[in-house]
Symmetry: D3
Subunit: 266 residues, 6 copies
């Protein structure tokens, strides 16, 4: 199984964190292609930054679905590796393979291990966007709290080192004061920290990246079939202009596949 | 008052419909700048098409907020003229003037005139995206139904002529069978049709474009003040790359204004 | 456009505050008729006081819709100028023009400018009633908080002067601690205060009275059509007794108009 | 135990139906005072008619709480005997005894006997008001359906005879098609019909009037104590004008009792 | 009327508390059979303990419905006397008489006396289970708070004596800080405490046991009819094995009665 | 990884279906122990049958967690293989390994592949229980519909053969009429059918058993840590009686492990 893992922000050090944790999490038979957004911001904290990131992620998905990627082997699934799930669920329309955000993956991993969960986040500004994301997925009723660092970050690549004690304290408060049965350490910059803190937090701790990899493996493994009707079928054929070459090719490919299926059915 | 009205799809004939109805709706002191998306699709039916459109709308907003627009006069508000509100509410972060989608405007216009409302749409595929939009605005509990044309469209510019009888029948069914107190004729391609059908539908009928113009005038007129804190303040200053020149300039301008305000407060 | 603005409580000094802010907010072509409830209480804080007020408002609407008002010119819309929207949405049945409460107007104005909003209120007792009102409108999911003065009021006409610093502090707490993107200064006794405090609160601030005027102008301007079916059509013809002369006449007039429309349709 | 049972509409034949079923339902030690609204409409179908009725009910409650009623014996509880619960929950502020609507009573009786329930109603117009009432009580999530007679009523006093077969058919459809575990025959004009139809409907059938009587007995029997704080304490003392003598006296009495309690606590 | 009151935990001293308060609450014509769970735990605090208790309660219900109980007289209703309502609503399928939990009874008693209510509980661990119970009943939107003792209990039979001051303080905080209109003293170990504390808490106080008895009397008195269709009809006939003799007999008896009814209908 | 897969009903032919599909779904490194409930019913359709099944499942979990199972090797996770998730989430308290129901697993698998999903069920009676289960998991807002066979089943082991065409038709209706983006074939008796029908249904089709296996593998693989606080920690130590030897031992073992952890933390 080959998974395309996309860092929706432009920080290579975050991509490195993502890549390391993804490798640690992946099952033996899974190979990973890890990519960084071609345009965007250093790290995503707002709804608008997430919108920009969504466009950048679409380009990378399109590149791989249109061409099969750099090595010609098709990918079997996509993991969008920023908490807040930029572009979801819209991006699921773009490919005939599962496209999964790390937030939705983490929410499922948490919801299967307890009833209420808290999210620990890297900045106060990021919280409304995360809350949107949880509510849109439909699990807002199970959110115990979102707690966040309210200090200025030095560097996005070292957040988990710089604020380890703060993140541990926030996690424990979520359990003791907010009633969290599970804690989610949110955001790609925290990738891998859950492994380190687990023994020190008295409930299961979910890491977004590893949840994303494991859930993608699970869903890809199910081979549930393709969207040939409904809201996630490829967008209908119609005039378009000004899209990137990859995006244009990806849409054409998707529509062609969908039409072939339709004609088979008739 | 000067409003920037943006057609998020690439169809000039839809822009013409939008422009005409916007003109008919605007108050005497309101001037309009009507623009068409620089890239995208013929008309927007899916979550992914909406994501593409959101990027195109951001570019136009950025162009105007960064430069003051073609004539140098600053705009006082923005109307995003596609039902489904591509890019909302993220786009509200991008400008220091109100940015209002025609769906949210129509929902408010409907909610102030009755309790439950129905949306009449141009295609079956478009319904899940519209439903998302209503739920995200928070008024899902007041939605009586979404009814839609389930036939192939000939041309997007002539939908309202081609399917007038169908749209009228759907509207009446929404009242008689679904309990709608108000009917919303959704989608820029239907701009202006409400004026024509009103006498023939036994409840108030809301047109997205005119609701967008009127609600934008109302909100701009309130001069409620700027977002200098919270989730709609300009995105924080951070490294970015690969954005268009306009977007980059708009973000810089927004952050500069926000910082100036912050230093004044301190 | 001629708007009837009704103060649902009996305090003339509150009516004066309402009238002043309504005048400052109205567009050039709008004329205002401002009226005070004929019976009721000094200011409304409870569900029962709101029920009493609703009856008083109904009498004034009936007087104008039955007779066209003191000058014989028909009104084009009604603004019910008490936060908590006494009698809504029931009163919308009573007239063939839009009848709009200042809470629902303020909620729309806030919802179009941000995602979550807080309400700043003049007493602790008033909060459950306001919460009901927000939930019934359907936007309870976007309410960040209701904060209130918990001191005894000296005089209802001077609340905004007497407690300016408290109201400012509550507003800032709503932003900093509750996540409000927009603050609503609630209650007719605070009419006009938003203009004064705006620069000192770091998010948009909405005033109920001016929102009511602007939103009423917008909705009246849309000319969406009449309720001739559904839950807001005039109440069916049936035996009644003991109603005031105006109310009786208004119901008769409404039913006559509705029947005329019905016979036209057949 | 002495219960005041109020018919919120002006129809004496409906009062007779209410009185008969109330008598059949009451426990041995319960005495009933049955009253008809002094003003209002023949039967209540709309939100506005309900608002008018709420005022009429308030007058009767006030008359009894201020004076102890015609025989001088105080009442122990009030049943508001119109489905849709006009004036609820506001009227609970007005008396130091439980004031209970037949809808909320019927909802509780249904919710204790099954999970989902349907409401069978006497007219299509009445449904939105009933739906409001269920949602405001908080049990909207358990409502299977509201089904209604969609024919013209001959006389309100004979609805249950005239439409018995229709009402039976609607009840069975609610079970078979809508998933109702319990059926509520709604509206005082149907008082007593449940006794007759029970054997013919394959789930429990709840009558509003008898539920109102039984639930009022249960709650009065609990002697849970008085509202001396919170949203249902008597309205605060303040200037008022134009209220009826009874209402004025009732408010004064309530406030006096509340103040006495407060001074005792201090 | 004969009610079977079941203590779902194994503590005889809690059964004694239940029995005493049940006797104080019952109407003159009501006789009580009070039983203790045959297996289970000392007191129930968790979802799993509640699951164990549900099985024990089923055995006792089965014993009585299969045989008519020890004295051969059939019971008219069942009260499941542990807050959290173990086995509800499933247990309602098992008998042709109303089976009512004390939580659902207390929620109805509270909801009929105010709008928002708080629950005062004996341990922190117990809160998530209680919250589940309120949400599943459908009244989560009216829950002001759940407050609890966070100290170790000495003995379950003396909790109300040992922590009287704490429970009083928690109740007052619920009113003053959480907006509770009604306070529910939760859990059979607190049975009877409400009578003692009422004068000292400024809102109505509901006791679970007495609410259970009173609501069961009310519902039994309504004689609403049997479940012969829908989700609470007896489970369909099918192979089973390993059930207790009583349970097996109860299911057979229920199915036989249901089939008899079905053949009568055909 | 060793998973314990429990059939909560007593039918060996359903266990065989479960075992076959579980084997087909499991990853190479996963070994399975498949067990049938020791007591209960042929197949579970009602809330009460589910309650009985929950007890039977608890016994099997207890047997394995107390003893390590028949071969002495500890299990790494548990899959409860009946749709409707009997005993969830309570059973998660009982073991220090993930315990996952096939419904919650299927809901996650569906929610990661689309927005709205439908459930196809084997009987009408089963639907309310399934609906409860979806709502309690928190994803009720994404449920498009539950459709079911409304004919008598011949034999539970051959449902998928006997009703293949019906199940296919129901699935297609869910897509075309209800707006399902994903279809879940619900219930262990349908195990494996999804593989066969996938090509004939135009959206992804999820099988409960394979979703259960894959999701359990994913969650076990995450090694998120143990519940040592919060609602899923082992139940507190307290007197108990009458439990089976296995259950008693399992609770003791869980509490011992929890206490050891607690003393380590202190």
């Amino acid at each position: 199984m080959k998974l395309l893992v996309i860092n929706p922000n432009i920080s290579d050090d975050v991509t490195a964190l993502i890549g390391s944790e993804a490798l640690r999490s992946a099952s033996p038979g899974t190979s990973l292609v890890v990519r960084t957004a071609g345009h965007g911001v250093e790290y995503i904290e707002t709804r608008f930054e997430s919108l920009i990131a969504a466009g950048a992620v679409a380009e990378i998905i399109a590149e791989h679905t249109a061409t099969g990627g750099s090595d010609g082997d098709p990918i079997d699934g996509v993991v969008v590796a920023a908490f807040g799930d930029p572009g979801m669920p819209a991006l699921k329309e773009l490919a005939d393979v599962p496209v999964i955000g790390i937030t939705e993956a983490a929410l499922c991993a948490a919801a299967l291990q307890g009833h209420r969960f808290s999210i620990i986040a890297i900045s106060d500004r990021i919280r409304p966007w995360y809350l949107d994301c949880v509510e849109r997925f439909g699990l807002g009723g199970r959110l115990a709290s979102i707690r966040s660092i309210n200090e200025t970050l030095n560097a996005i690549g070292s957040v988990q080192q710089d604020f380890k004690e703060t993140l541990l304290a926030l996690s424990r408060q979520a359990v003791a004061e907010d009633g969290a049965d599970v804690v989610i350490l949110a955001g790609a910059p925290l990738a891998g920290l859950a492994r380190e803190l687990r023994g020190q937090i008295p409930v299961p701790v979910v890491d977004g990246i590893s949840a994303g990899i494991r859930m993608a493996e699970a869903v890809v493994g199910l081979q549930s079939g393709l969207h040939r009707a409904g809201a996630f079928a490829p967008p209908p054929v119609k005039a378009r202009k000004g899209l990137s070459e990859n995006l244009d090719a990806a849409l054409t490919a998707a529509q062609t596949a969908a039409n072939a299926a339709a004609s088979t059915h008739n």
